[in-house]
Each structure stands twice: as structure tokens, then as C-alpha cells.
């Protein structure tokens, strides 16, 4: 009955989460789906925790993913990936970048950054793919294309034709960075 696909993109303000979620939303619209997207701007831009919800299907009502309905959790950073697990279905899929960004209480030595996050995530949602986005992006030609590598990995599980992804990239990414982003996307899709 519920034919809506629920995707969560999570990370730290300034990591490019909003752009990635725009590319995703544009791709699914081009593939002919209804799509809604939600995130909070404002205080979160100052290095805070960020979550963007993208939902698509024949008809989408709520712009936010109901608790426990997440199909895919797309994590740009490990701590934030762990934080948003309660939005996921237990049988959902987690794809995360192998990156740690220390929050203020860790920077100041008050708290420690958890050292076993990949295991903690996998024990809660077994379908977990950890990606070295930076390394692959460097191979693609630009370390800043890590998000696109991850997006390629996410795209594998979705029923969206590749030409829709490429059309969305063309619309959203500056022309001079397009070729590297296409390459980064393909590398992610082949993981």
C-alpha cells in the first residue's frame, strides 16, 4: 500500500547535504515521480547537525519521513549517521561516508568521539555500506566530489534511470565540474 520511497540525507552544516538532496529530488522528478523534500535552515547552518528528507512515489503527502519508515540513510558523516538511525526501517539500507567531524564538545576535549561507530550502526541496521568517499573522489579527479560518489552508491538501490541522474547533475553542478562529477557518480554506482 505504501509505495513511497523514503530517503534521509544526514551530516554536518556546510557539507553540501542540501545540494545532494536537490540533485536527488530533481532526478526522481525527471523520472516521472511525485517528490517532496524537507529540511531545516537557520541555526543548523552554523556547523550543527543537518537532516534532509526526500520522499518520492506516485503521490507523496508528508514532506518528512515518518519515524521507522526510512528506506535509505545516506550519511555524510559517521556520528550523524548513527544519530538518525531511529528514523530507519530495521531492514533499510545505510550508506555512509567514512568521515569523522568532531563536534564542539569533542574538539574541546570534554567528550570523546565514539570509536566503534561502524559496528554500532551495523548492529542496528545490518544492510550497511561504508564508503571511502574522499579516496574515490580523489581518483575521480577532485576530493570535493565525495558527495557525488556517495550519491552514485545510493542511486544503485533506486528505480531511477541513469539519464535522469545525469540530467539533474547537469542542471545543478557548475559546467566545469560536470565531467568529474559524472565520473564520481559512476564510481559510486559500481560499488
Amino acid at each position: 500500500m505504501n509505495s513511497v520511497t523514503n530517503i534521509l540525507l544526514v551530516g554536518v552544516g556546510g557539507q553540501g547535504i542540501l545540494l545532494a538532496s536537490e540533485i536527488l529530488a530533481e532526478s526522481v522528478m525527471l523520472a516521472g515521480f511525485d517528490v517532496k523534500k524537507s529540511e531545516i535552515h537557520g541555526m543548523s547552518q552554523r556547523g550543527g547537525s543537518v537532516v534532509s528528507h526526500v520522499r518520492y512515489g506516485r503521490e507523496v503527502f508528508s514532506p518528512t519521513v515518518p519515524e521507522g519508515e526510512g528506506d535509505i540513510l545516506f550519511g555524510f558523516e559517521l556520528l550523524e549517521t548513527a544519530r538518525y538511525l531511529p528514523l530507519m526501517k530495521p531492514e533499510g539500507k545505510v550508506i555512509a561516508n567514512d568521515l569523522k567531524i568532531q563536534p564542539s564538545a569533542v574538539l574541546s576535549g570534554q567528550l570523546s568521539y565514539p570509536d566503534n561507530l561502524p559496528e554500532l550502526i551495523r548492529s542496528r541496521v545490518p544492510d550497511f555500506l561504508l564508503v571511502d568517499g574522499q579516496k574515490l573522489a580523489l581518483q575521480a579527479g577532485n576530493p570535493r566530489a565525495a558527495n557525488t560518489v556517495l550519491l552514485g552508491a545510493v542511486s544503485k538501490g533506486l528505480d531511477i534511470p541513469q539519464e535522469c541522474w545525469f540530467a539533474a547533475l547537469e542542471k545543478m553542478v557548475p559546467a566545469k565540474a560536470l565531467e568529474i562529477n559524472r565520473k564520481a557518480f559512476r564510481m559510486g554506482r559500481e560499488l
Partner: protein
């Protein structure tokens, strides 16, 4: 053509398609992007106003002059604009006037979560509430038509989820054939002296009656009959949550929330067995439906506080035995325990950081205000004692020194940003001087309205359209208000900043300190300049943690999982502001050669 637009982008598009000529706003989350997007369309005079009251007055002038005018603000901004709004209800309009109120249930970025639907009832004006971006655009256009047809300002209320949520919108061409603006003299309608206002008030009541009648048959109030056992009256984002949680229930989706369509509500109530209202915050619809003599349930099962969600709506109805779409029997994944939080923080190189460090060291009682500097409240700076609303710091500092004993008066320091000072701080400073309250005010002039995402203001020297313009001379303005002690400090020099604040705290008269370093996020060339970076000499670092007391995100403690360690500066984040170097007693921090 189809595009994915946010609610704010769709309102901007709707304004363009409606033939709006004048648009103005004061930035405020979640409304800010409306004006930032309006400037992408031709033929609209778009501007930032110094506050919401001025914005609405500019809108009223444009409307009286015959143009369609859009004014946008966040929910608390309507408090500032309320004075002209209530009398505008009596005069009505000439060109259509639409006031966007962007409410923030859950307070994602606000100091309260007031429900501005109450303003529509209070000011006796119609209020439309869209539920997604398509409706944001369509309702904006309809609002202008209703404004002219019923001779009334129209409020359009979004909430954070509709403002910042994105969905698919079909674009159209702008309307043509609107009347040309021109000066119109009509004192009986436009001069609200008692004699004229007494004539206008009954017309306002008559207008409300006609608007309710309009609502009974308007397409934006939509009855959707499904299972007639459960009937839910709802509007805005909560409509989406109802459709998600109770896909089989019948709904009466209200696009116009004030005045309510009484006949349509009675018709719906008669068709369903049990009647409910699902709305966020106040029981605005519910109380009026109950006053109609209908049996209805709403806030008995839903909170008066915070946002709703599909899950909250589902749980509420499941709790009274009504079957819902998605409810989970099996346990959901949990977050690992004790994850460190990630609150927002001042940027590396932020000019506010040193000021709050100095205030904390001096034991000042900091009367705060609204802006990025409100983050001075958070640890490790923890240097803010009050925060109420835009501009409040100045008047509150005055009141506090009137109240507290002599030995505590000197501790009181008001802290306010440039944009907030120009918004509603000037009158407070006038009072502080007029009534000789010996408080100290620090104006953190970073030359931008930063927290909402870097908007220009009357002290930045540029307009919304990026055109160079007059830059308010803040020291001269303070002197003109009668402040005898106005001094500029460099907030990156901790000794200079600390001694200036101490001197002014001890001065038994009103005084003003202005900091003069720009926001690090300003992209305009030549404003913010990165200095040569700093680095830690690991051999000299003793691990004393003094440099961590300023909470700079560029300052790392390594290793991240140990109590014993050393400081390290992230070269990608450091701007070379030099504040950390001044805290190191061991000379371990120096500039990179």
C-alpha cells in the same frame, strides 16, 4: 513547465505571476528566502526594510498608490508590524496587499512558537494556509485577488515545513492588465480619525461575514469524503500528516482558515460519524467549531506544543482506538547511547567570540539579543544571561540598572548586533540616555544580518539588489542620541576589548562600545580578509587547555578520544583572527610564516 520549489520560492514565483510591483521584508527564519528569490524576477521593486513595521508601512503606501504589494516576515515579526496592521484592516487597500507570516512550530530557529492564525481573527482579516509549494504559489495569487475583491489585507501563513519543504510546482505566465498605480485622494477611507474609523468598523464586520460566505463555496476549502466514520478538519502541513497517517479518513481541508466557512463545516459534520480537528499549536479551528455547537475532538489527543508529524497523528488516533495506516509493531532501530551532541557554534574567526570571552572574564551580567551572538550563551563561552526579542537588550539593560543595588549596576552590559540595533534598538538607547541609566551597550557591528544567512541592512552599505547605498554611521547615530562615551574597539584584541568594557562598566553614565570587524561569511570583496594562519608548536604546548576556552571550531584537542593531549589548529578552518594566541601563556601558538 514544472519545477521543484520550496514554499518560499513558490511564494516569490506567485508574487511575480500576480503582478506584484513592490515587495519588502525584514529577514527572519523561515521567511527569508522569499525576498531573496523575488529579486530573480523582473519588474518588482524588492528591498530589505530595517524592521517589519517599516516593511508593512512601505507595503501599505505602495498599495494605497495602486500597486500590488507583498510584505514578508517571520511570526514574531508580525508583533512588530501589528500597529499598522490593525488599522489597515479598517482602511482596506487599493492595490492588493498580502502579508506573509512564516510561523515556526517547534521553534527550530525562534524564541517562541506563537500561532499567528490568532492575528487574523484579532485584526479581522482573511488568512490563507497552503499545505505545499504548489499551494504556496496558487494561494499567493488568490490572496491578491481576494485582497482587491474584498478590500482587505490578506495574511498568508506558512510554517517551517511549508516554507522550507520542496515539492513540484507548475509555472504560469504573469497576469496582465492590472490598473496603473497613481495617487488617489479618498480621506473617508484612508484617514483613520475617529469619525472616519467609526464608519469603517461596521464595514469590516460586514466584510468578515461576506468572506465566510465566500469560504463556504471556495475551491480552496475542499471536502474529501472517504470512510465517513472519521471526519477530520485540518489545514496546512497537518493535512499532509493526516493523509499519511489516516489515508481512509474523510477530510475537510481548509485553505482559508479565517474566517471559517461555517455552513461548509456543518455540512461536513453532518456527513461523518465522529468529527475531529488536527491542527498545530492553538485550538484555533477547534474552539470555533465547538462554539458552533458541534461535538468535536482535537487537543484532547494532540499537544498544544510543537510540530505534528505523521507519527504523532497516527499515535494520537491509535490511542483512541481508530485504525491508522502506519504503526510499527516491531521495535525500531535505536541510536547508540551517549552520542555527543552537535549544537551550532560561532564560526572560526567570528568577531563576536573575543567580546563574549572578555564579558565572561569580567563577570558581566549580559543582557543579550537576537542574532548569531546569541550563540554566546552556549558553552564554553556561556556568557549570556537574558534573551527576549529583537532590540530588547537595550531597554532591558536600562530597566535592570534602575532595579538592582548600586554595586551591581555596573555589571549590566547590553549586547546587540548592528542589524538588531537598527531594527528596534535605537529607541531603547534614546531612552537609556534620556533617563540617564548608567548601563553599557556593546554594538557588535559585523556589517551584515548574519544569522539569517548574510542579508544586507542599512549599516552594510548595500541594498537587497546589491546596489551601493548610504551606510548608517553608527558612532554618529549614538552621539546624536546623546551618548557622550562612544568608542570603537578591535574585538580580536582581547586586552583592548577587556579594558574598554571594564572602563565603560565603571562609568556612571550610559556608554556605547562598537566592535568593527566584519562577519567571516561576507563574500563581498574587500570586506572580510583572512590573515596569516596560526599554528601550535607541539613542543611548547603543555596541554593546559586555556585556548579551548573560546570554543573555536578550528581548535582541536588531539587525540580526540583521550583526556591527555595537545591542541591543534585546523589550517582549513583557521582565519588567523589571533584570539587563541593571546590566551596561550606558553607562547605555543604563533603565526605561520
Amino acid at each position: 513547465m514544472k519545477e521543484i520549489l520550496s514554499g518560499n520560492e513558490a511564494i516569490a514565483r506567485g508574487a511575480f505571476e500576480a503582478g506584484v510591483k513592490v515587495a519588502t521584508a525584514y529577514p527572519g527564519t523561515p521567511s527569508t528566502e522569499i525576498l531573496e528569490n523575488i529579486i530573480t524576477y523582473p519588474g518588482i521593486d524588492a528591498s530589505w526594510a530595517p524592521n517589519e513595521k517599516v516593511a508593512l508601512e512601505v507595503g501599505i503606501g505602495a498599495s494605497f498608490g495602486g500597486a500590488r504589494a507583498l510584505v514578508a516576515m517571520k511570526h514574531v515579526g508580525v508583533n512588530v508590524a501589528a500597529d499598522p496592521l490593525f488599522t489597515l484592516s479598517y482602511t482596506g487597500v487599493n492595490g492588493g496587499l498580502v502579508l506573509i507570516t512564516a510561523d515556526d512550530p517547534e521553534m527550530h530557529s525562534s524564541q517562541n512558537e506563537q500561532d499567528n492564525r490568532n492575528y487574523a481573527k484579532f485584526a479581522k482579516i482573511p488568512l490563507l494556509e497552503p499545505a505545499d509549494s504548489r499551494e504556496c504559489k496558487e494561494f499567493t495569487k488568490l490572496a491578491f485577488e481576494l485582497s482587491e475583491q474584498f478590500d482587505t489585507p490578506v495574511m498568508l501563513r506558512t510554517t517551517t515545513r511549508t516554507s522550507h519543504g520542496k515539492s513540484i510546482v507548475e509555472l504560469a505566465e504573469p497576469v496582465t492588465g492590472l490598473p496603473e498605480p497613481k495617487l488617489v485622494r479618498n480621506a473617508a477611507k484612508l484617514v483613520m480619525l475617529p469619525g472616519n474609523a467609526r464608519v469603517r468598523h461596521p464595514l469590516v464586520e460586514e466584510r468578515s461575514r461576506k468572506l465566510a460566505e465566500y469560504g463556504d463555496s471556495a475551491a480552496i476549502n475542499r471536502m474529501e469524503l472517504r470512510d465517513q466514520g472519521v471526519g477530520i478538519i485540518t489545514s496546512g502541513a497537518p493535512y499532509q500528516y493526516v493523509r499519511e497517517a489516516l489515508p481512509d479518513a474523510s477530510t475537510l481541508k481548509l485553505g482559508m482558515v479565517h474566517p471559517l466557512p461555517a455552513a461548509l463545516i456543518r455540512e461536513f459534520a453532518a456527513k461523518v460519524e465522529k468529527l475531529y480537528v488536527v491542527e498545530e499549536l492553538d485550538p484555533f479551528i477547534e474552539e470555533q467549531v465547538r462554539a458552533m455547537g458541534l461535538v468535536v475532538m482535537g487537543k484532547e489527543i494532540l499537544s498544544l506544543c510543537g510540530e505534528l508529524s505523521p507519527g504523532i497523528v497516527a499515535k494520537a488516533f491509535a490511542g483512541i482506538g481508530i485504525p491508522v495506516g502506519a504503526i510499527h509493531e516491531s521495535p525500531l532501530p535505536t541510536a547508540p547511547p551517549d552520542l555527543p551532541g552537535r549544537p551550532p557554534s560561532m564560526c572560526p574567526g567570528c568577531p563576536h567570540r573575543g567580546v563574549f570571552f572578555a564579558l565572561k572574564e569580567l563577570g558581566a551580567y549580559v543582557v543579550g539579543d537576537i542574532g548569531c551572538y546569541t550563540l554566546g550563551f552556549l558553552p564554553p563561552l556561556s556568557a549570556m544571561d537574558t534573551c527576549i526579542c529583537m532590540g530588547a537588550s537595550v531597554g532591558m539593560a536600562t530597566g535592570m540598572v534602575k532595579a538592582v543595588p548600586d554595586d551591581e549596576k555596573k555589571k549590566v552590559v547590553g549586547v546587540i548586533g548592528d542589524s538588531t540595533f537598527l531594527h528596534t534598538g535605537i529607541n531603547g538607547l534614546m531612552d537609556m540616555v534620556y533617563n540617564q541609566a548608567p548601563a553599557t551597550l556593546i554594538i557588535l557591528d559585523n556589517r551584515i544580518t548574519a544569522m539569517t544567512g548574510r542579508q544586507d541592512n542599512p549599516a552594510s552599505g548595500f541594498t537587497l539588489m546589491d546596489t551601493p547605498t548610504n551606510r548608517v554611521d553608527l558612532p554618529l547615530l549614538c552621539k546624536a542620541l546623546g551618548v557622550r562615551q562612544v568608542r570603537m574597539v578591535n574585538p580580536f584584541d582581547l586586552a583592548e576589548t577587556g579594558s574598554a568594557i571594564l572602563e565603560e562598566m565603571n562609568r556612571p553614565e550610559p556608554s556605547v562600545i562598537i566592535t568593527d570587524k566584519p562577519c567571516v561569511l561576507i563574500k563581498r570583496e574587500g570586506v572580510f580578509q583572512r590573515e596569516s594562519l596560526l599554528q601550535v608548536d607541539e613542543d611548547a604546548c603543555t596541554g593546559c587547555r586555556a585556548c579551548l576556552k573560546i570554543g573555536c571550531p578550528a581548535m582541536e584537542w588531539l587525540p580526540a578520544d583521550g583526556k591527555r593531549g595537545k591542541s591543534h589548529i585546523d589550517p582549513l578552518l583557521c582565519t588567523g583572527c589571533d584570539v587563541c594566541r593571546q590566551l596561550c601563556k606558553f607562547g605555543a601558538i604563533g603565526r605561520k610564516k
